[in-house]
Symmetry: C2
């Protein structure tokens, strides 16, 4: 048996999230169908099983989702990627494949995850706006970055976790949480060792609530420390959210480029 | 009567082009419906008639299409734009409105038009590719720009004009024709006083044919001088093509920024 890791890109708009669910169209179900068709030639049932680095909600996108699977069939990378992209739906693609060691695990070996939330900050919507949230009230990047600075480090993120989460995890280490502005486009980037259910969407919703209500940036610290979901802002639309990268080497501020490297270091 | 000019953006994918055609869904028909609803409150038939700076083909997009219309009703810009964008389909929007002098004409007053064609040059398609053409064979920007240099100036562009064009125009002045590369994305930009039917798509198709067949860049001059449509390349997919700007001041290399100014100078 060989183990392979692939980097998967998708527009999540037309899917009920990444994870397989009975009767639903998901990224995982489409991917397993395509892999099984290509590698084994049969999809009833799909016999190639995949492990994702993590679950993304319905409507959330990815540029760097990492997935592993095992097979006994030999794979020639370039031909394989062309064929795989040929049979996947248009809104899912695979940008690379790599054979990995048997102890690699797409989820458990992951050291950090990088997400981006895209906001357009202007008065009118545009036909060209896509996978972003339109915010009409003027946003102040300096204030937003001040508010986000309170999230850096190891904290209990209960305030920013969906009350419907079934697991008990609550502590994460946030390495980076920062907004950058380019014209009327604001990209909120957050990197952490892991994320709780709905965490990026609740943090973004809270950040926008703080700006809208003109609270001091310190409000973010207060909400974090309260460990109370009801103090935080709304779970904002998934459409602006994209999983950019999963890192398998320890997070390093300087070395962390946007290369989609999946080899463990 | 007052005359207004608006800047219209659209994703052309789901439309049979910009121009009204009986029984077809077009940018102009949707825009006239929305304007008539908003200004007059009735759409049967739409009583606000619009003049476009020029026609765009089915599937072609715009970020800076300029359109004028006349009305006796007073218009308050900010409220008007919000309402208009509220009732237009999601893939059409209006970014500005300005009252213009009675001798302004969206088409006849236009001094230049700027188009962009977006190419992605890599081996595999991506779920994130949109409004672009995937080209797998490696493209050489230097060679492409050399080929394009032969188009600059005043020429008879018969070779690059659809044989189905009904008008007799054939001479255009090309001010700029250049490719720029950013990662695996290539933007072909062309600015001319006017364009013939299918001209940008045929020029792009010819440019890609020259690269693919490994012809010398001088092939472009030879094709131009032949004044023979059969010598040029195919009319390439409309999906990569976007009308960026219509200029109402004389074209000036240095001053020409990307502002969407519609006032005549």
């Amino acid at each position: 048996m060989s183990k392979y890791a692939i980097v998967v890109e998708y527009i999540g708009t037309n899917y009920a999230g990444s994870q397989i669910q009975p009767g639903q169209r998901t990224i995982q179900s489409e991917l397993e169908k395509a892999l099984s068709t290509l590698i084994i030639g049969g999809i009833n049932p799909p016999r190639i099983k995949t492990i994702f680095s993590g679950r993304t909600d319905a409507g959330v996108h990815a540029k760097g989702q990492v997935v592993h699977f095992m097979t006994e069939e030999p794979i020639v990378a370039s031909r394989f990627l062309n064929s795989l992209n040929g049979i996947l739906p248009k809104d899912i693609s695979v940008s690379s494949i790599e054979e990995v060691s048997e102890n690699f695990h797409a989820q458990k070996s992951g050291k950090f995850r990088q997400y981006q939330y895209k906001i357009v900050n202007r008065q009118y919507r545009s036909a060209w706006d896509n996978h972003s949230l339109l915010v009409r009230n003027p946003l102040n990047i300096q204030r937003m970055n001040k508010a986000l600075s309170y999230l850096i480090g190891e904290h209990d993120f209960t305030s920013f976790k969906s009350t419907q989460a079934t697991d008990t995890a609550k502590v994460c280490i946030v390495y980076k949480a920062e907004c950058t502005k380019n014209g009327d486009e604001i990209i909120f980037e957050i990197i952490a060792n892991r994320f709780l259910y709905n965490m990026v969407r609740v943090i973004t919703g809270t950040l926008l609530m703080i700006e809208k209500k003109d609270f001091a940036p310190e409000k973010m610290r207060e909400i974090l420390e309260s460990k109370d979901r009801t103090k935080a802002g709304p779970t904002i639309s998934p459409d602006g959210l994209t999983l950019i990268k999963v890192g398998y080497e320890p997070y390093n501020k300087i070395e962390n480029t946007n290369t989609m490297e999946i080899t463990e270091k």
